[in-house]
Amino acid sequence: MSALPSRLQPPSVVVAIVFAALVGGALVLAAGVNPLNAYHQILVGSLSWGSLPDTLNWATPLVGMTLAAALPLRGGMINLGGDGQMVIGGLAGALTAIYLPGPGPLVATVALIAAALAAGLYAALAAWGENRHGVPMLISTLLLSYPAVGITSYLVRFPLRDVTTGLPQTALVPPSARLMVISDPLNIGLVLIAAIAMLVLYVDRRTVAGFELRVRGANARFARYGGVRLDRQATRVMFASGAIAGLVGAIIVLGSQFRFIDGALLTPAYTWSGLMAALLVNGEPAGAIFAGLFFAALQTGGFAMQRETSAPRVLTIVLQSIVILFLAVRNGVGRRAS
């Protein structure tokens, strides 16, 4: 598509980031802030020694949601329902941890499993809808998010509300059932997400299921011809994707907020940043993890930028989407092969 022969072109991702930085720079300038200063603050605020723990803490849920998005994307499917799956997991985890008696670590483990199961099943509902009723998952995952968010919001506002606080939130998770702290602000959730990342990489690279998913992503017809049951595969993949999203929700609840607070899981928009990170590399897990870390650094740095200059940190979301759009337009990222 370009006039340049391909060997003369710099890597697309680099060009995209430079392009986004230029457009973003103009936006920062419009806010009356020196772009170089703004970008400097982002760098210092994310990658300096003192801010690395914050970046890792932000990366834990973001990389988790990146994996939740990357898994279906690897097979050419898109899960837009991460928000709904995350709140279902978060609430299931919170309720289990609050109301299940027993030794703390065991309760926490059961809570995480309950979160993964509940959210996984909810996500699998979308696959069932496409297999049985022809409702495209791209649409149904997103539409299913709204009832999940609405119902969990209702539950924590009314029947499950902690009446002692007056805020829409559940009671506190008992200290024994909270996730173990490594060193503040990091907790064992980081290790859990890292383990899931390894697992996803392993499945993708070394197992038959991973191979079949990649074949589907490259050419679904060929996968079916080769004996892959596309409908069952979709259900399994969506379950796994939703389960990861649910785990992320439970990790935030059990690891940092200690209760399910209405809206608190969704405000940072991990789902959408994760989806963008996954789209950046078309669902390839290693690249997706890297992209998720990159976006986490960008957003953590955004806090510093907002604090030190007056440029709003939502700029980082703009930068992320420009990178995606640039790549999608330039070389057909996400183009489903025919």
Partner: protein
């Protein structure tokens, strides 16, 4: 039944239908030209923001509408050129545009007006509601249309206009040809790329109107992410309507009523967290039923099916 269908319910239903209908018409035009427009949500949001900016600076609702149309058309160029000349994936571009719209409007809201969340200002002039006393006395339909903005009337006029243009004019024939048989259309001398670009830009204008109705119609306020899934519901309306403006309008009426019903249920004392989800639940149910009824997938559904392998026209 008479207790359920009140003048207020009808009015809020017609009001709720307007932005979805305008966005759905935008989707229909794109769908007919063979470009899957998933960016309706973002286009609407950009339009809603631009309408507030235009009206705030000029104290004129007309300027607000013009600004909304202009901004959404400019924004739609990303899809118009990205999905044709550059042959990017329309789904990815659509998702990217929605996120960009959400981030960009939030950013500009903070930079231009120094607020986050919602913005309202006495200087903003909303759209006038046109009272038609004679119509207001007519039960049901009259209740609904007796006092609405010019954009509501425009939306319904556009349903007719788009239907006529699509099915009764050479322009419409060529547009449908471009969508259904791009190779044949190209062979017959129709410039596929230009038709597709034009269709997306027109859809941008319509989505801009939808955004203006959102921020200047019932209220005069901009709230972050105020399109709140309406663009996605419009996408579903296009799917249910199988790219036909009349059927898509029928689907919009269904969603509009679900929306208005939820407001009514709220006034009956149900918590709004529960009533707010009714349009989405109705949408999902409609999708399931429609498939069962026909067994044939719409073009949008086919484009979305994870097993699709659509032929790609080389539009270089």
């Amino acid at each position: 039944m008479s207790g359920l269908i009140t003048p207020f319910l009808m009015q809020s239903a017609v009001q709720a239908i307007t932005p979805i209908l305008l966005a759905a018409l935008a989707g229909v035009i794109c769908g007919r030209a063979g470009v899957f427009n998933l960016a309706l949500e973002g286009l609407m949001l950009v339009g809603a923001f631009a309408a507030i900016v235009g009206s705030d600076f000029s104290h004129s609702a007309g300027v607000g509408i013009a600004a909304a149309v202009l901004a959404s058309v400019v924004f739609s160029m990303i899809l118009a050129y990205g999905a044709t000349i550059f042959r990017g994936d329309a789904v990815v571009i659509g998702i990217g545009m929605n996120l960009l719209a959400s981030g960009l409007t939030a950013y500009l809201l903070r930079v231009m007006f120094g607020v986050s969340g919602t913005f309202s200002d006495p200087a903003i002039v909303g759209l006038d509601k046109i009272p038609i006393p004679a119509l207001q006395r007519v039960p049901i339909l009259g209740w609904g249309f007796g006092r609405q903005t010019i954009l509501t009337w425009a939306a319904w006029a556009l349903v007719v206009l788009v239907s006529v243009v699509l099915f009764k004019t050479p322009l419409g024939l060529r547009l449908r040809g471009v969508g259904e048989q791009p190779y044949a259309a190209e062979t017959l001398g129709v410039n596929v790329r230009n038709y597709r670009v034009g269709a997306v830009l027109v859809s941008g204008a319509l989505a801009g109107l939808a955004g203006a109705q959102l921020s200047l119609g019932a209220v005069t306020v901009f709230a972050e992410d105020m399109s709140a899934g309406r663009g996605w519901i419009a996408v579903v309306a296009v799917m249910l309507g199988r790219d036909n403006p009349l059927y898509a309008a029928a689907a919009c009426v269904l969603f509009g009523f679900a929306d208005a019903m939820s407001i009514r249920l709220q006034s009956e004392g149900l918590p709004n967290q529960l009533t707010d989800i009714s349009p989405y639940v109705v949408t999902l149910i409609a999708l399931v039923i429609s498939h069962r009824k026909s067994g044939r997938a719409s073009s949008a559904a086919a484009a979305l099916a994870t097993t699709a392998d659509e032929p790609q026209l080389d539009t270089r």
